[in-house]
């Protein structure tokens, strides 16, 4: 009896409180009925070992309790699994790409290949674990929240090109691009090159056309960037100013700059900005036809980017190092600084990046306005023919 009580107590702990007593009472009756039947068969009371065998037949408390739980009994279900697996493959590719850059840059900067290899492998493994963990957590959430993503039911053939990633010639035996296959097996190397070029042009054209593909890549890059920004994954490329100099960059006036303080100040604004990008991409996946919503998001993202650039240029700790006060001034400063080749000074490089961000923000706002006011047919949202009723 002690064994049964102990078993039922363990199952009870694992059950939802509201149903616990009810389920345990029923389970107790089942176990006792089973034991009685067995005792009748043997003509004697069961030993502890025999009772335990009956309990083992009923099942491990974790398994028994799990069967009573509502909701899915898996982390990634069969519907989501192919998408999850693809995301994990993309994560592997991104991490491999980052590790190769880390290996290369670290070897150049420190001159120590073994140390660089160690760094690259270390960052590779930890980064990969974070990305896989994130994909799994996202899938877990999807399974439980029953989020409906219209892409799952309404994907279109032209959106499928982002999957071409899967056919990158890992082993040299992958499917050949259609244009290359059409040229036939006996064509000359020149024909083959031309066919490959045509296939690449085709891929670029279609990639531009696919909103889904761009949404997915936006999410992937925003997540990788945010993980780096919050310190969940590391790209240890530059450890010291000597490393920077070997990479052809001179810290110059920014030699003693407090990057940590700037990172702290910008921490939440940048996280918010990336969240905005992910949110837009998620909306694009959930309702790809909401052109005006996408335009509004583009405007918000563009304004945020311009505000960030403006703040960096005029009010941040970097302001003192920005030696230009007009666009022409910037061009002159950059030209005179870069005239003598590497090592290039860091301050004008950062100035260029900030100006680029501001300009990017401006184009984003203009693009957003265009989506808001232009007829859908002009922006590629042919709602007359394609939009579902």
């Amino acid at each position: 009896m002690k064994l049964i009580d102990e078993y039922l107590r363990t199952v009870g702990i694992l059950l939802p409180r509201a149903q616990r007593d009810d389920i345990i009472a029923e389970l107790r009756d089942t176990i006792l009925s089973r034991i009685e039947a067995r005792e009748e068969e043997l003509g004697r009371a069961l030993t502890d070992d025999e009772t335990e065998a009956v309990l083992r037949e009923i099942g491990h408390p974790l398994v028994v309790a799990a069967r009573y739980r509502e909701g899915p009994q898996h982390v990634v279900g069969p519907t989501l699994y192919p998408y999850w697996l693809f995301a994990v493959k993309v994560a592997c590719a991104i991490q491999l790409f980052i590790s190769v850059i880390v290996l290369f840059a670290h070897t150049v900067a420190s001159g120590n290949f073994n140390q660089a290899l160690g760094q690259a492998i270390g960052t590779g493994i930890s980064g990969l674990l974070v990305l896989i963990g994130l994909a799994t957590a996202a899938a877990w959430l999807f399974e439980r929240q029953k989020l409906s993503v219209s892409y799952f039911d309404r994907w279109r053939v032209r959106d499928l090109r982002f999957l071409d990633f899967a056919a990158w010639d890992w082993d040299g035996r992958g499917p050949r691009p259609a244009a290359a296959s059409a040229a036939g097996p006996a064509c000359s190397p020149a024909d083959n090159r031309e066919a490959r070029r045509a296939a690449r042009r085709d891929w670029r054209r279609r990639r531009r056309a696919s909103r889904t593909a761009s949404a997915i890549w936006a999410v992937v890059w925003a997540i990788v960037f945010t993980l780096w920004w919050v310190g969940a994954i590391h790209f240890p490329i530059i450890g010291s100013q000597d490393d920077l100099r070997r990479l052809g960059v001179d810290a110059g006036t920014l030699a003693g700059f407090n990057w940590t303080a700037l990172h702290q100040t910008l921490f939440w604004p940048v996280v918010g900005y990336e969240a905005l990008i992910v949110l837009q991409a998620v909306f694009m996946l959930i309702s790809p036809w909401a052109v005006r919503l996408r335009g509004a998001f583009d405007i918000a993202i563009g304004v945020a980017l311009m505000a960030l650039a403006n703040w960096l240029w005029t009010s941040s700790s970097l302001t003192a190092f920005m030696e230009a006060h007009s666009f022409t001034g910037l061009l002159v400063w950059v030209e005179t600084s870069f005239r003598y080749g590497p090592p290039l000074p860091l301050a004008p490089m950062i100035a260029l990046a900030i100006a680029g961000a501001a300009l990017g923000g401006l184009f984003k706002v203009l693009g957003g306005l265009w989506l808001l006011i232009a007829p859908p047919v002009w922006t590629g949202y042919r709602d007359a023919e394609e939009q579902p009723a």
Binding site: Q19, A25, L27, D29, R34, E57, I58, G59, R67, Y68
Partner: protein
């Protein structure tokens, strides 16, 4: 364990999964408690683990296809289940579907 045996076992389980619900609903036209229901199903050739049967009963009750009540029998309180009116209607529909699948398969597998 040989891979063919594993494969057979997993396909067999898949094949049986849907029919178990049908068996349970049909057997509960007469009121029963869990233990005797399991015995009745086993006698009919539908062996079922307790850990599958009880959560299934609970689910069917939540879905309104079964009703249950606690009653004392043999000096112990037992939970008796039986088909609800909604369950009877559902059983009839499922049985019609089952017969149609069976007839189709019969036709397909005839030499």
């Amino acid at each position: 364990m040989n891979p063919d045996g594993d494969l057979y076992e997993s396909l067999r389980l898949e094949l049986r999964r849907g029919s178990l619900t049908l068996g349970v609903l049909a057997r509960l036209r007469t009121e029963r408690y869990g233990y005797t229901l399991r015995q009745a199903l086993a006698a009919d050739g539908l062996e079922m683990e307790e850990s599958t049967l009880y959560p299934l009963l609970r689910r069917l009750e939540t879905q309104g296809l079964l009703v249950s009540e606690w009653r004392e029998e043999d000096k112990r309180k037992k939970r008796f289940y039986r088909l609800s009116p909604a369950g009877e209607a559902m059983l009839e529909r499922l049985l019609a579907e089952w017969r149609s699948i069976s007839a189709s398969l019969e036709k397909i597998t005839q030499p």
